[in-house]
Structures are given as C-alpha cells and as structure tokens.
C-alpha cells in the first residue's frame, strides 16, 4: 500500500503547498490488500468480509508499531478531551514567574507572566488536535470527492479537476492565510482547521484519482457495470470499500500534516485569536525572550509533546500499512 509521508511536507510553508505528490501515495498495491489469506477459495462474500475483519484484528493486535503508535495517540486523545479538567491550575492563574520545573509545576512557570506551563500544555493539546482533525476531515473529504470524480468520470471532468488541483497546488497557502487573517481579525479554531483543509487537499485528490483509475480497470467493477448498476452506487459500494484501508491511512497522514501546518501558523501569530495551542505557546515563548532568558521549559516540553504526537501518528500509519498490506507483514 505504501502510503508515504510527503517528502516536502510542512517544509513548504512559504507557499504552503504540501504539494509534491507524496512519494508513492499514488502507487497502488491494493490488489494485494484484497488478497486476504493464502487459501481464499471462492466463498460467500459476507463470510469473507467477516473473516477479513477478524483477520484485521488478529494482525492489528500483534503489530508492535501499531500498538505503540495508537497507544501514545490514545493518551494524547485522553489529554485532548480531559486536559482542561485534569490540568492542576487555570491557564491564566499566576505564580511567581520563571519557576523551574518541580513537583508543583511539572513544566515550571513562564516569565514574565508566571503561568503554569504544564496546565497550558494540557490545554494546548486540545486545540492542536481540533485543528488537526478539522484540517484532515476537510482536506480528506474535498480530496476524495475531487479524486473520485476525476478518476471515475475521466474525460473533460477529469481535465477540469486536474486543472483545479494544479492551480490550488501552486497557490501559496500562506498568502491566502495572510489575506484572510487581515480580514478575519477574530479567527476561530474552526476557521484555521477549515482553511488548512481547503488548501491542503490537492495531493489527496491526485493519489485518489490514480487509485480510482486502477480500481476501475478491475474485474469486479466490470461485473457491477454489466449488471446495470449506477455509477454512484458502484463507487460507493465497490470502489470505496476497496479503498477503505487506503483512505484511512490518508486521514492519519493528513491529521499529522494539518497539526504541523497549524503549529507554523500559530507560531507566526496567524492562528486562532482566542485559543491556546502548542504553536501559540512557542510563539509567546519566542516573543517574550524565553530563549535568551533561559526559560527552556516554556518551549521545549510543549514542542516535544507535539513532536511525539506526530511521530505516534506516523508510527501508527506504518503499523496500519503493515496490517492492511500482507506483503509487508513478514518484514
């Protein structure tokens, strides 16, 4: 299945386009994903689907990478949901500024405000996750829709959608963000997430288009066509399930890349106005000279948490890839 992390990824902030068709994402090996066991035989479809689900769980529970990645992610999700509740102090509550990390203040307090960094980080995880999820959902939905439509219908619609994709790829994400943020001085988390999604879909569309093309050429689609079914029902009932695992992997990667893009926006002060994300923390730390003053606990732990969140997503992705793709299992 080989869904790769795009090589340029969040590097391309200046133009924003996480554009380079992520290496390998378009290359299909779905043929293998459906192969299931070695002795498939014929068999009733329902029984087969059931067996496949069982098999998925079987391999998923034995995949170390998946278990570790998903485990770390689960902890962060817990923090994202309950973070503000388990935070020892309020985000704005003040203490003596610049306290070193201690049992009372796990990550110390910042300077010159004297707020508890640990409490802020717990809250920040939630905002970063929200943006990541929103960005992934929007980029995923738009990318899937455009990719499906282009790959399935082909012809002029394909040409048109490809043109659109290429134009969006070359449009600088940051330009738009700056223009919009000047207008929208009161930005919400929703705004940032949707923006990242709406500008981040092209590579998904490209990959999905290629996948749809290869799937379309396969026998079962011909069979469905012969039986006189409507195109939309074939896409929904035959193609989509075959791509389900692939789509899942795409979402995991989009989630990670959206969070990284958001950190960059937030760091430059282009983020939501009323939030307190990990990127915002680093922004404030940098603005208030935490570096020069040696208040390292203001920016190192939150950044490390963010890195861990993204790494865990990547590892989950590799693990899932191995589970979905039997070829990779034995490595």
């Amino acid at each position: 299945m080989s869904v790769n992390i795009e090589p340029s990824g969040h590097k391309s902030l200046a133009t924003g386009s996480p554009a380079a068709s992520p290496a390998g994402l378009g290359q299909p090996s779905l043929a293998e994903a459906g192969a299931g066991g070695t002795v498939a035989g014929g068999g009733v479809a329902a029984a087969f689907a059931g067996r496949r689900r069982w098999e998925f769980m079987h391999f998923a529970l034995r995949n170390k990478k998946l278990m570790i990645g998903a485990g770390i992610e689960a902890v962060f999700v817990f923090v994202a949901i309950f973070g503000p509740l388990i935070a020892p102090y309020g985000v704005t509550k003040t203490f003596p500024p610049g306290l070193h990390p201690s049992l009372h203040h796990l990550f110390g307090t910042n300077a010159p405000f004297g707020q508890d960094v640990f409490s802020q980080a717990l809250t920040g995880v939630r905002d970063s996750y929200m943006v990541g999820a929103l960005g992934a959902v929007f980029a995923g939905v738009v990318g899937l829709a455009v990719g499906f439509a282009a790959g399935w219908r082909g012809g002029w619609l394909d040409e048109l959608l490809q043109l659109l994709t290429n134009v969006v790829i070359t449009l600088p994400q940051l330009v738009l963000m700056i223009v919009l943020s000047a207008y929208q001085t009161n930005r919400s988390t929703l705004f940032e997430g949707v923006f990242i999604g709406v500008t981040g879909w092209p590579w998904v569309a490209r990959a999905v288009r290629a996948q749809t093309f290869t799937l379309k050429a396969r026998d079962f689609v011909d069979l469905a066509k012969l039986s006189g079914r409507r195109a939309s029902s074939i896409v929904v009932k035959d193609i989509a399930p075959n791509m389900a695992s692939y789509i899942f992997l795409v979402f995991v990667l989009l989630f990670a890349s959206s969070m990284l893009v958001a950190v960059n926006f937030d760091f430059l002060g282009l983020g939501p106005s009323n939030s307190y994300s990990i990127g915002d923390m680093m922004n404030y730390a940098s603005q208030w000279s935490a570096l020069q003053l040696g208040v390292w606990w203001w920016f190192i732990p939150p950044g490390a948490a963010m890195t861990l969140m993204v790494v865990a997503l990547y590892i989950t992705n590799v693990g899932l890839d191995e589970v979905f793709n039997p070829k990779l299992r034995q490595q």
Binding site: G37, T38, V39, G41, F59, Q330
Partner: protein
C-alpha cells in the same frame, strides 16, 4: 527423465501457522514434455511451480528433493539456486505483462540481466532478435520501453527473455489466463514451438484452464489441496479421468475448447480445505460424491495403469475388482 520431484514439501509461513501449500508431491517430467499442472486456485499448483525456480520470503522448502538432468536442484537454498536460474530453470511469471522494468528499454534490461549473470549480451543478441521475430514481434521492441507495447506484446517479450539461455525446465505460470481465446491459442503454440526447437526441454504449464491444456500439453497433473490427485497423458485425463475431482473439473467445463473462469468452478460444491491444518485422509473427501469409509485414510498416489497415476481409494478398489469400470473402459475402446 529430465525432472524428478520426490516427496516435495513447500510450506508458507504465516502468523497463524504454516500453510502446507505443497505437501509431499512426487512426479517426473520427461525431455521435451509439456506437462500441464491444473487445479483450483489455492490448491498449491502455483506454489509448486514457482517453488521450483524461486522460493519467496514466506515460502519454505520443508522436505523432499528435486533433480534436474540428474543433478540435485537446491531449491531451498536461494543463493545456490541463483546459478541455476535462467540457465537451467526459468519462469514466465503470472504477472508477465508487468514483469519488465518500466523505465528501461527491453534490450537494455535484458543486457543488464545477462551481464549480471555473466553472459555476453552481444553474443546472444542475434539469437535474441531471431526469437523476438519468432514470437511475432518486430525487432525494434528491443529499443522500446515496456509501456510502449501492448500487454500481449509484453508477455511475449517476457517469454523470449525467460527462455533465452535454453533452460532445461520452464515454468509457465497462468500464461494464458488474462488472454482472449485466439491469443491463448497463439501463446500455447509458442510454447510448443519453443519445445520443438529445443529452446526448452521440459515445460510445466500451470493453469486452472483444462481446455488450453487439452490443446498443448502432453500430460496433465491435477493437484488438490496441496496433494497430487491424478497424473496421466492428456488424452487419458480428458477421456478417462479416474479421480472424482478431475471428473468434476472436466464436467464443470462447458465444452472443451471454451475458456472458463474461476466462477463455474463453484459448480463443485464446497470449498477446498484450509491448508493450515489439512484434514487427515483424502482431502477431497468432504466434497466427493463417492466418499466412503476408506477415505478417512490417506490414499496413496499409485500407478493404476501404465502412465496413469491416481490417489483415490475408489479408483484403486475398482481397478482391483475384475469387471470393474476399468475393464469396461477397456472394452469400450
């Protein structure tokens, strides 16, 4: 006998245990013989064929021997096998249409391959071109990239490359599966031509399509669930099959000469057993209309008549009963 396979076992390692895809098979192939290897998908025929050339990561040589031209063939030792590949054993893979590196011209790729095998490409170039023409391709395919050719052309190019060094044993894995009827016939004729010209000595044609074997094979070996079911000359298999499985395979053919797909095979009720933990006794028992109490024991694969081997208690019993069907068949001739 140029190929002799004795009690060969090839297992797949999976996380759930070992799949006994080839579980003790014994047969031989003569010089100049084209042997068909038939059976449903998942019966182990592809594993057997591929295993004779290249055991992939998850496959394990679990027992038995293979002899080629009187020499042992070390199929379990991939390193040692390298020297044999292409020169003595070769394969036209199932994926022949996508077997060529998309970013190399066909001639260049062949040259790279031969060079890595220590063969001077210039010395075989003339022969290469002659064979390319023989399979009906223009000589200039050597200067073309694979994607510039049609699927059928790519397959023929692959056939030529695989047999370029005149191997003793050639495995053709589902070479006719993805083709239409007339192309199938053409590919079958090419395999016969290769044999007639001495490009290959023994050929194994793996397929689930008995009708193509009826046209090109000298003998047919039927496999079921990792075991041999029946082996005999093509005419015997087609006209007087003894194993109930072979009979059902033939019955599920609409008509010899027409191609059938996997689907009609569902005409045989039931499914092959799991090879993770194969049942004791005859493996076809569950699906066999003639099964009787003897079948809980494993039937031996024995030569009931000269050149006709079968693993079935019923056939064995009838052969021993005077006036049984064997005699009746004899009389009918």
């Amino acid at each position: 006998m140029s190929v002799r396979v004795e009690d060969l076992k090839i297992y797949y390692t999976t996380l759930r245990g070992e799949v006994k895809a080839v579980d003790g098979v014994t047969f031989s192939i003569g010089d100049g013989e084209i042997m068909g290897l038939a059976g449903e998908s998942g019966c182990g025929k592809s594993t057997l064929g591929n295993g004779l050339v290249f055991l992939e990561g998850r496959m394990r040589h679990a027992g038995g021997h293979v002899q080629l031209d009187g020499q042992p063939l070390p199929i379990g030792d991939s390193r040692a096998m390298e020297a044999f590949r292409l020169r003595q054993v070769s394969i036209i893979p199932q994926y022949a249409m996508s077997a060529l590196n998309p970013t190399r011209k066909i001639g260049r790729m062949t040259a790279d391959l031969l060079k890595s095998r220590g063969v001077d490409y210039r010395k075989v170039l003339e022969e290469f071109k002659r064979r390319v023409r023989l399979v009906g391709l223009p000589e200039d395919v050597l200067d073309r990239y694979p994607f510039e050719l049609s699927g059928g052309m790519r397959q023929r190019a692959t056939m030529v490359i695989s047999t370029l060094l005149n191997p003793s044993l050639l495995i053709g894995d589902e070479v006719t599966s993805a083709l239409d009827v007339s192309t199938q016939r053409a590919v079958g004729e090419m395999l016969m031509e290769f044999r007639d010209r001495g490009y290959v000595k023994s050929t194994v044609v793996i397929t689930h399509d008995l009708s193509i074997l009826a046209q090109i094979a000298d003998s047919i070996l039927v496999m079921y669930a990792g075991k041999l079911a029946e082996k005999a000359g093509t005419a015997t298999i087609v006209n007087n099959p003894l194993h109930p499985y072979t009979q059902q395979l033939l019955a599920s053919l609409p008509e010899v000469g027409l191609r059938y797909d996997e689907a009609p095979l569902l005409g045989i009720p039931g499914r092959p057993p799991s090879l993770l933990d194969p049942p004791k006794g005859c493996r076809f028992r569950e699906r066999c209309p003639f099964a009787f109490d003897k079948c809980v024991e494993e039937p031996p694969f024995v030569e009931l008549r000269p050149g006709h081997e079968v693993a079935c208690w019923k056939a064995l019993q009838e052969a021993q009963v005077p006036g049984g069907p064997m005699v009746a068949q004899e009389a009918a001739r």
